[in-house]
């Protein structure tokens, strides 16, 4: 495990050490915050107006701005070797809380976070990576531990990314839905990934077909190959989507249906064509664009002369 090629080695060496400085609650346990919390949750137990704070309020006392904050996690020095090795993704996977006793008015909470465990490399749906468990311990001034929280994250190398991928999309926002790929359409998406627009051709009768399928509707042949399209075509129909907004698209969103010059049709987005310029019959050309690291899609751009 001392092997410098193991991206988890520095993290393993840091097990038991704090991952950032201890946080001291800004205010001691107090009735106004208890009242606000109880109102929000709908808690009416009279005990919480008689000197005690609900145990489940534990993380509230030291809580900071609670937005997804990859910077904070990225800031943990132990994660940097993972980034350097291409494990740039981060996903929160589990959160467990353990309450040892209720807090009393006037007590002040300090939260300390230590790295508790680092897993071996695991294959997950997101990609291959390591689970890191961070143990948060909550103490009062006497040093007594009143509760614990375990936060588990996955540092991963996304499936699509090569080891050399730019560390661009830690905790990536939802991306475009990937097309489901099976034996019938893999050639198309592999072609796009390689920068080529391919269309299926029946080797029995020569008919082009799109969307592709296993059998030729003209002659029922199961034999086919592909040809590379010129990418040139004319606009046949189009829509401009406004609502509902679906991440990660920007709206208004034009989506075009184009007559390709070889006699087939293709749906794709417009690239740098403003809404008012869209006109049925206008000449267009395909350009293949990397929209997210490792994911390419065909787009339509204005063709020369159009």
């Amino acid at each position: 495990m001392a092997n410098s090629a193991d991206p988890a080695a520095p993290a393993r060496a840091a097990i038991g050490h704090t991952v950032w400085p201890a946080r001291v609650a800004r205010e001691p346990v107090n009735q106004p915050m208890i009242n606000a919390w109880c109102d929000a949750i709908g808690e009416t137990n009279p005990r919480y107006r008689a000197g005690f704070a609900p145990a489940a309020m534990l993380p509230v006392w030291t809580m900071r701005k609670f937005t997804p904050d990859p910077a904070r996690v990225e800031g943990m020095a132990i994660l940097q070797p993972f980034d350097a090795a291409g494990y740039v993704g981060v996903a929160a996977t589990n959160l467990e809380q353990e309450y040892l006793r209720e807090l009393r008015l006037g007590e002040r909470v300090t939260e300390e976070a230590t790295l508790e465990a680092v897993s071996d490399e695991k294959k997950t749906a997101l990609g291959s990576g390591f689970f890191l468990t961070i143990l948060h311990e909550f103490r009062v001034d006497s040093g007594e531990v009143v509760g614990r929280m375990r936060f588990r994250i996955l540092k991963f190398r996304a499936r699509e990314m090569a080891a050399t991928a730019r560390p661009a999309v830690a905790a990536a926002p939802p991306g475009r839905l990937r097309p489901p790929v099976n034996r019938d359409n893999a050639f198309f998406w592999e072609g796009i990934a390689a920068g080529r627009l391919l269309v299926q051709r029946c080797t029995g009768c020569g008919t082009l077909r799109h969307p592709p399928g296993p059998m030729c509707p003209q002659c029922q042949s199961l034999e086919w190959d592909t040809v590379q399209s010129s990418g040139r075509g004319t606009l046949y129909s189009f829509v401009v989507a406004h609502h509902p907004p679906i991440p990660p698209f920007e709206y208004p969103l034009p989506i075009l249906l184009v007559d390709m010059e070889e006699g087939w049709r293709l749906v794709a987005n417009a690239f740098q064509i403003e809404r008012p310029a869209l006109e049925i019959g206008m000449p267009l050309a395909v350009e293949i664009v990397e929209v997210e690291p490792g994911f390419r899609l065909p787009f339509f751009v204005r063709a020369a002369g159009g």
């Binding site: 475009r176 839905l177 990937r178 097309p179 489901p180 790929v181 099976n182 019938d184 359409n185 799109h210 969307p211 509707p217 046949y236 129909s237 189009f238 829509v239 401009v240 989507a241 406004h242 609502h243 509902p244 679906i246 698209f249 208004p252 969103l253 989506i255 249906l257 087939w264 049709r265 749906v267 794709a268 987005n269 809404r275 049925i280 899609l297």
Partner: protein, 395 residues
């Protein structure tokens, strides 16, 4: 006519529904049970007499749970048709075939959904899946580009239809205004007492151009049920039967679910044309024989395209037909006298079948004079279906 199996042998003998709302506050199974028992009571039949159930996909209520909850005894026929709202009338076809074949005597068709409060087809979210099916691969041609909602899929057809026919957004708006006018007079409609103006339609926000908010049907909670039995038995029951004069399904070449974008001409609905040809052939009737129609109105442009596909006007002439007021009360073909899914509620078209029955009985809130036959259609853009209801007088 006798070479067609249906030939008026089966009829809708009872209809029932819950209220249509944005939040039913109860389970979908309970909605189903309420609508079914209401339909049985309407017909004058007991739950123990039910021996068949039909519904269509996107309904979450499995037949066995529905049947045990209503107190069914012996279920001999059950069938679930695919393609959501496109199957609204296909369920009635299934029920009529089962009755005609003697497989079952009393078949209940149901649809119960908390579409508004618990899911929402319009949200554009796709369910997680573990198997890459042909269906998922199909949607994979659109998902990466954000073409993910029913409104956006239909908008693509609508844009081309505008290009071909000269229809404008105001023409779509006239459909919405008419539906809301009808709904305003229907106490069961969500938009009862709430008509809109064309200016309000034109000012409504864009959802997916060329569709505006008021071009899109509501999202609703609610349930509808129908009781199908033999015309002979129906004549002895509590209500005058709405005889199933014809019923048909259709999917045409290069059909996709909602995205049949690869046909030479996408400004026409070839699967609807196929259904229309079957209905006219089965019944010996023609568009001129329909005094009113329930045209599936999930999105306004598809009402125009269906008017053309069923032959109520020529291709490209539906915008003028609507401008002339022909789909309003007093027009040549009053459409969706209950207010449609734009005005009454979106129960995936089954509420439209119930309105067809009311027009035959003469109990619609907007009754059309001297109704002999009503055309009822189902969801389009998908494999679809339709039926003709009549009084059942011998022709």
């Amino acid at each position: 006519m006798s070479r067609f199996v249906l030939g008026g042998a089966a009829a809708i003998a009872g209809i029932g529904a819950t209220e249509f709302s944005k939040q039913s506050g109860r389970s979908e199974l309970r909605l189903a049970c309420e609508a079914i028992t209401a339909a049985l009571a309407d017909a004058g039949l007991r739950p123990a007499e039910v021996d068949g159930l039909c519904t269509y996909s996107l309904d979450h209520n499995i037949e066995s749970e529905v049947f045990r909850n209503i107190g069914g005894r012996e279920l001999k026929f059950f069938s679930r048709v695919h393609y959501g709202g496109g199957a609204a009338c296909a369920t009635v076809l299934q029920a009529a075939l089962a009755v005609q074949a003697g497989l079952a005597e009393v078949v209940v068709v149901y649809r119960a959904m908390n579409e508004r409060s618990e899911y929402r087809f319009g949200s554009g979210l796709m369910p997680a899946a573990h198997v890459v099916t042909a269906e998922l691969v199909q949607f994979g041609w659109y998902m990466p580009y954000g073409l993910m909602t029913p409104a956006s899929w239909v908008a693509m057809l609508a844009r081309r239809y505008m290009h071909e026919s000269g229809a404008t957004s105001a023409d779509f708006g006239r459909v919405a205004v008419t539906m809301r006018e009808h709904a305003a007079r229907n106490p069961a409609a969500w938009f009862h007492g709430k008509p809109i103006t064309l200016a309000e339609h034109q000012a409504s926000r864009p959802i997916c151009e060329p569709l505006r908010l008021l071009d899109c049907c509501q999202e609703s909670d609610g349930a509808v049920a129908l009781v199908v039995t033999s015309t002979e038995r129906a004549r002895g029951l509590r209500q005058p039967p709405a005889v199933i004069a014809a019923a048909a399904q259709g999917a045409a070449s290069d059909q996709q679910q909602m995205t049949s974008y690869y046909r030479a001409d996408i400004a026409r609905l070839t699967e609807v044309e196929l259904v229309a040809r079957q209905l006219w052939a089965q019944s010996g009737l023609a568009p001129a024989d329909m005094q009113t129609a329930v045209i599936y109105d999930h999105f306004t442009p598809l009402v125009l395209m269906q008017l053309e596909a069923y032959g109520f006007c020529d291709r490209g002439a539906a915008p003028q037909f609507v401008r002339d007021g022909q789909i309003g009360l007093g027009g040549r073909l009053p459409v969706n006298t209950h207010g449609g899914q734009l005005g009454e509620g979106y129960i995936h078209g089954l509420n439209g079948v119930a309105e067809g029955v009311r027009q035959i009985r003469g109990t619609s809130c907007n009754p059309v004079a001297a109704v002999e036959h009503v055309l009822v259609t189902a969801g389009t853009g998908v494999p679809t279906s339709a039926l003709i209801l009549g009084r059942g007088t011998r022709r």
